[in-house]
């Protein structure tokens, strides 16, 4: 540090001119490679401890397959440690499509009234009550996800309007073991800032809206997914469960033929890195190995080419 220049000068204008050497490069890539591989192994080990159960096309388990009906089936589960997350998963559903994503009104969802022109601008093509699904036109879905019949003017602005709201996934589930209900906690499933802020019920919610925007299943649905196969949290089982034949009872409302896909149920436990993630464990190992190969390439080149490789003629 130069005295005449002073500390501030040093702080800002000091130069760093690292001259990389072959040795340091080999060391760098070896160390990082080892770290990556190790991390990959750790993730794999953790993944193996996480239990994940997928019940594919659960609606097909009832025969005949009928909609807007209750239905139940049994499924054998192993021992699982709480918390156990209960997801529904849709396949081939494009919640990420441009026309779909933009078709909602944030203003309306935050509890304010919107003008007709705004409704047309933001919610096209689902602007009026009459544009909604039949079951939505004369109903009010409460925060607790129960339905109350309500008369609605078909020419009023739908609230919430738009394609995302209209396609709200409304299957409901219950789980029991030998007639004993397993509690599925459906609160706190949405991001905490959403409820009451971005999603807030209007002052006269029951008479103007077809669903309470503070219904958490609704909030979860409105948060559009990025992949065409996605899962959304439906509830939590906050107790350990034992091995046994469990009865899944569900209200079969949502028709997967609408999107030419399937609906599944996923039950998953959780580890320190969240749920099961095969991608991360493989990716870390692969990248780690590539780093090691790079280090090896430098080493081989250094041995083959001799001192001319990496010698700077300063």
């Amino acid at each position: 540090m130069s005295d005449s220049k002073g500390f501030l000068h040093f702080l800002f204008f000091k130069k760093w001119h690292p001259v990389p050497s072959v040795g340091s490069t080999i060391a760098l890539f070896s160390i990082i490679g080892v770290i990556f591989v190790a991390l990959g192994i750790v993730i794999t080990v953790i993944n193996n401890q996480i239990q994940e159960v997928t019940i594919y096309k659960y609606d097909q388990k009832c025969s005949p397959v009928e909609y807007n009906k209750k239905c139940s089936f049994t499924y054998k589960l192993d021992n699982m440690k709480a918390p156990i997350y209960f997801y529904y998963e849709l396949e081939n559903f494009y919640q990420n499509h441009r026309r779909y994503v933009k078709s909602k009104s944030s203003t309306q969802l935050s509890g304010e009234e919107i003008s007709l022109s705004d409704a047309e601008k933001y919610c096209d093509p689902i602007t009026y009550n009459k544009d909604l699904e039949e079951w939505q036109q004369n109903v009010y879905v409460t925060e607790q996800n129960t339905q109350v019949q309500k008369e609605r003017n078909p020419d009023d602005i739908a609230s919430p309007c738009g394609l995302v709201a209209k396609s709200f996934f409304n299957d409901t589930y219950a789980l029991s073991l030998s007639g004993k209900n397993i509690d599925l906690n459906q609160t706190g499933i949405s991001w905490p800032n959403d409820k009451g802020k971005k999603y807030k019920r209007a002052s006269d919610s029951e008479s103007t809206q077809w669903i309470d925007p503070e219904n958490e299943h609704f909030i979860v649905w409105m948060r559009t997914a990025g992949l065409p196969t996605f899962r959304k949290l439906w509830g939590r089982i906050e107790q350990d469960i034992e091995e046994g034949e469990y009865t899944f009872e569900f209200q079969n409302n949502y028709n997967p033929q609408m999107f030419a896909g399937a609906k599944n149920i996923v039950l998953s436990t959780s580890g320190p890195f969240g749920g099961k993630n095969l991608f991360l464990s493989i990716a870390f190992i692969v990248v780690g190995v590539i780093q090691l190969l790079i280090a090896l390439a430098f080493l081989i080149k250094k041995i083959r080419a001799g001192p001319s490789f990496g010698q700077k003629n300063e």
Binding site: W16, H17, N193, F273
Partner: protein
């Protein structure tokens, strides 16, 4: 620059001035203005200039696409206009600074002092206060403020000496003379009567840019009309020398002066990098169109196949609207900040160059060419004033009879003495006479009776044969007592012939090797009778105007000359010229010397400045007929690499006119190690440069010179460098870069050229790269959503990418990175030499393996696309459908915020992979650029505008850090490739093949 040479062209239009009635023409002031607009019109001018730029038009169109609802993904808000306005403001600011510096230099020029005639006396005034038809007074050593006709001068005969260095670079004095009939009428002693007594009408050519030419007439009262000629005329900028004063009439003022009309051409030189950048912009535009076409067609087909997905609310799409949408989505393919960024960076680099203390007084007039300095393979240089200082020093006298030799030297010359000053047009003779004075032989002048006086002895000059370039010698005969003595001084090859046998060739050779200009001295005595006969014969020949006879008689007189001595005069080389030339040569750069000087002098300078090795084979072509030149070429059939080719200007003219010889010349010249062309006119200098450019598309030329005679070649070459003397000269002003001395060329090319070409190339590549990384996730996302054109990043934040989140570090890199730092701390004004200056091999390496090529460009773009893909995949698959926080999953906008954040981290880190020197503050700004994004996210967390958002919980998710760690591999891969390349750099030997 053709106008310089159209001497034969006739000017049909004329202007006229009638004295004293017309004085002054108030509408034609002597004001020069090189500003492109006035203070009031500047803003509209700069704005219109900006919005008519092709790049800006492109972004304006993108903005329009953003406004049209059907193609808008920003709710009709043209978000692109934000960064566009910022970029345009920066450009306008830069223009304003340049405009201001033009204004300042104009002011400086306009406020120089002179004297004009006003109310019967001469008063001091600024140049700008002079008007056409004003009568002005110029004193010795003052510059001429405008184009004038000389009315009178301090010499009785009306002679005036001017230095025309500003016009043609020649430092010898030119004789001009006043208009004969006006010398007395406008003498300074009559100043009070100028208006009363005189009524003169001048008619002359209308303003025109043709130098070296003026014609016109004048008429006093109603007497006879007489003609004016070029000898009465002095151009603006010349300097009055050895003349106490002159009085002149301003006939062209301000921008109408010939020199100004010559300067008005706009230059449109572009560096190789700029040309390549244009090609790249065009090709990436085509690829953008292809991407958009593919995407929109995919979208069109997908939509039509999925109309039954009612939840999507699909309608039959218009493929054109899809195209427009994708176009506005992917518009980042052409980076908005590119042009401004590159301009700004070069502007800064040029300012650094100008403030460099190691090469003081450097100027950069074309900062866009700065990187071209790093990719030169042919240098054309002027000799006098560039390689040499143009100051002659007497070095040595080799004489057998020293007394006689000194007498010969002090008598046989064409210098005159006026007011104790030696005045002559040959700097060699002046140097010789100065030496004689030192040795006590003081030349006192020559009187009207042909008496030369040395000290106090008078010599009567009987005969005088002046020097001419054909005779190459000067001969006089003087009478001392009863004896007649002939003295002869001239080129050694001529005198050797006259002397016959001479044992002193070794001495001449010795002098030549040292680069001295040698002259040989000879002497012969005659008796009275011999001389009388001879004089009679000569007189007869003179009367008959028989030139051949006169020449023969001179030869006869000079025959059997007695050897007196050899003089050695050195044209002092400029500092470090030898070292600079040999470094240029080891950088594989060919040096061509184009000089107006003699062939012999050029060769001797060639030896003394290391241009020609003693091993080299000299091939001298001075013949002037097609046949003889062919013969010479065939004679030198050896096409080895060690050829030093020397041509005379006349031979060159012949060769350029003959297609066969021209192709022979081209072939020969391009294999030769050194080419020297002597006795060339300014136009030929330009022709030679043009010839090289035409026939060698891979040649990048640099021309360096100091005089206005070099201006044409400076303008023709890819880069023109002017040597700036103490007084700013024409060449330095016309040049793209101006330096003070030839030796600074090394720093200019090896340090600034190499560094700027490296940094600017990487900056351009990087800007394209980072925009690819940024925008391609949109495209890859298309595969997951039927190419519906859904965006990923928050639209407000994404408009800040090129202006905030990835903006400053690349500018700092381009300004401050150094391969070999010359000091421990940042220096704006450099005070130390850089290691690169002594590394011609690095220069070769960068020229042979340029950083910016079309292939490299596509590699970088491709790398950007792949990195965009990998970031997209890693982020999507490590977070989507993941239990992020107590089982909750993510929305894709949150994913987008995350992808965007990682893009910002990676593109900022990328700078480290190609930076050699980091500063604390550059590291700080890289970190800040990354942090500012996350800081903005935290700030808007609870705000309406926020895209999601549950930022703190989201930051607590381990998946994010794992994904970040994974994408860090991209940085590491780049680093590995960069280092691998760096470690195995090897330098090929420069070969002339490189050019062909």
């Amino acid at each position: 620059m053709n106008s310089y040479f159209q001497i034969n062209e006739q000017i049909s239009q004329t202007e006229n001035i009638i004295l004293p009635d017309d004085t002054p023409m108030k509408n034609k002031p002597n004001i020069i203005t090189t500003m492109k607009a006035t203070w009031i019109t500047f803003l509209p001018y700069a704005f219109i200039k900006q919005i008519t730029q092709p790049a800006n038009i492109y972004f304006i169109v993108i903005g329009i696409l953003q406004i049209i609802p059907a193609t808008s993904y920003t709710n009709g808000v043209p978000t692109i206009y934000g960064p566009l306005a910022m970029m345009m403001s920066i450009s306008i600011l830069k223009d304003a600074i340049e405009e201001y510096s033009r204004y300042k230099s104009d002011q400086e020029e306009n406020n120089r002092k002179s004297h004009k005639y006003f109310e019967n006396q001469f008063i001091e005034c600024n140049w700008k206060d002079i008007y056409q038809a004003d009568i002005i007074l110029v004193m010795e050593n003052e510059s001429i403020p405008c184009d004038i006709l000389i009315l009178s001068s301090s010499y009785q005969g009306g002679i005036a000496y001017v230095e025309t260095k500003q016009i043609d670079g020649e430092t010898n004095l030119k004789q001009k003379y006043s208009i004969y009939d006006l010398q007395q009428r406008y003498h300074i002693d009559n100043a009070i009567n100028f208006e009363k007594n005189n009524n003169v009408k001048f008619v002359y050519d209308q303003k025109n840019p043709i130098l070296y030419k003026l014609s016109g007439t004048y008429q006093i009262s109603n007497s006879q009309v007489d003609s004016l000629n070029y000898g009465n005329f002095i151009e603006r900028g010349c300097m009055l020398k050895n003349t106490e004063w002159i009085i002149g009439l301003c006939i062209y003022s301000g921008m109408n002066c010939k020199i100004m009309l010559n300067c008005s051409q706009e230059r449109t030189k572009r560096s190789r990098l700029e040309q390549y950048m244009r090609i790249c912009i065009i090709s990436i535009s085509i690829s953008l169109v292809l991407f958009c076409l593919m995407s929109s067609i995919y979208e069109f087909i997908w939509t039509n196949n999925h109309l039954n997905y009612t939840y999507l609310g699909l309608i039959r799409d218009d493929v054109f609207i899809d195209f427009g949408l994708w176009f506005s989505l992917l518009s980042y393919f052409i980076p908005i900040s590119l042009v401004v960024n590159v301009e700004l960076v070069k502007f800064g680099q040029a300012k650094m160059l100008e403030s460099d203390k190691v090469m003081p007084n450097s100027k950069s007039h074309q900062s866009n060419l700065i990187e071209q300095l790093g990719e030169i393979n042919i240098v054309f240089t002027d000799k006098t004033g560039t390689l040499t200082k143009n100051s002659m020093q007497f070095r040595e006298l080799f004489a057998q009879n020293e007394k006689e030799a000194l007498l010969c030297m002090s008598l046989c010359h064409s210098v005159v003495k006026s007011k104790n000053k030696l005045i002559g047009s040959s700097p060699d003779e002046l140097a010789i006479l100065e030496y004689c004075e030192q040795r006590g032989y003081i030349f006192q002048g020559i009187d009207n009776n042909n008496h030369l006086t040395i000290n106090k002895t008078q010599f009567h000059r009987v005969m005088n044969f002046d020097f001419s370039s054909e005779k190459k010698r000067m001969t006089i005969v003087v009478k001392t007592g009863n004896e007649y003595v002939l003295f002869c001084k001239g080129a050694d090859e001529v005198l050797l012939e006259l002397i016959g046998e001479c044992k002193h060739q070794q001495v001449i050779h010795q002098f030549a090797i040292q680069g001295y200009r040698t002259l040989m001295l000879g002497r012969k005595t005659f008796t009275q009778t011999q001389m009388d006969i001879y004089l009679a014969e000569y007189k007869k020949a003179q009367e008959d105007k028989d030139e051949e006879m006169m020449n023969n008689l001179q030869k006869k007189l000079e025959l059997n000359l007695e050897f007196l001595g050899i003089t050695a005069v050195e044209d002092l080389l400029a500092d470090d010229v030898g070292q600079t030339i040999s470094d240029l040569k080891s950088a594989g750069i060919k040096v061509w010397v184009l000089t107006g000087d003699k062939v012999e002098t050029a060769i001797s300078i060639g030896y003394s400045c290391n241009l020609i090795d003693s091993k080299d084979m000299l091939q001298v072509v001075t013949e002037i007929t097609v046949g003889s030149i062919e013969e010479v070429f065939l004679h030198y059939c050896n096409e080895s690499a060690n050829i030093a080719l020397v041509l005379s200007g006349q031979a060159l003219t012949v060769m350029l006119d003959n297609p066969q010889l021209k192709s022979m010349l081209i072939k020969r010249a391009f294999y030769a190690k050194v080419v020297i062309v002597a006795r060339v006119s300014p136009k030929q200098k330009q022709q030679v440069v043009a010839l090289v450019k035409e026939n060698l598309p891979k040649a990048y030329t640099l021309a360096i010179g100091d005089g206005a005679n070099d201006v044409s070649m400076i303008n023709e070459a890819h880069v023109g460098v002017g040597i700036q003397g103490v007084e700013g000269t024409q060449a330095a002003r016309a040049a793209d870069f101006a330096i003070q001395e030839f030796k600074h060329l090394k720093r200019l090319m090896f340090y600034y050229g190499v560094e700027c070409s490296r940094r600017n190339a990487l900056t351009i590549l990087y800007i394209f790269f980072k925009n690819q990384v940024f925008i391609t996730p949109y495209f890859w996302f298309g595969f997951l959503n039927g190419f519906s054109g859904q965006y990923l990043y928050d639209q407000w934040l994404s408009s800040l990418f090129n202006t905030v989140f990835a903006a400053l570090p690349q500018v700092l890199y381009a300004l401050f990175d150094e391969m070999h730092p010359s000091s421990e701390y940042l220096q704006w004004s450099k005070t130390q030499h850089n290691l690169l200056e002594d590394k011609p091999d690095v220069y070769v390496q960068f020229r042979q393996q340029p950083i910016f090529t079309i292939i490299k460009f596509w590699l970088w773009v491709f790398n950007g696309m792949v990195q965009g893909l990998i970031i997209f995949l890693v982020c999507t698959f490590s977070t989507e459908n993941q239990n992020m926080d107590d089982g909750m999953t993510m929305e894709f906008f949150e994913d987008g915020v995350f992808i965007y954040g990682i893009v910002i981290i990676l593109v900022n880190l990328k700078i480290f992979t190609f930076t050699y020197t980091n500063y604390n503050f550059t590291i700080f700004f890289i970190v800040l650029s990354i942090l500012v994004y996350w800081l903005i996210l935290i700030m808007v967390n609870d705000h309406e505008l926020s895209p999601s958002f549950n930022f703190y919980r989201y930051l607590a998710s381990p998946q994010l850090y794992l994904a970040l760690a994974l994408t860090f591999m991209l940085f590491l891969f780049d680093l590995a490739i960069e280092r691998f390349y760096d470690f195995q750099i090897y330098v090929r030997k420069p070969e002339s093949i490189e050019l062909v």
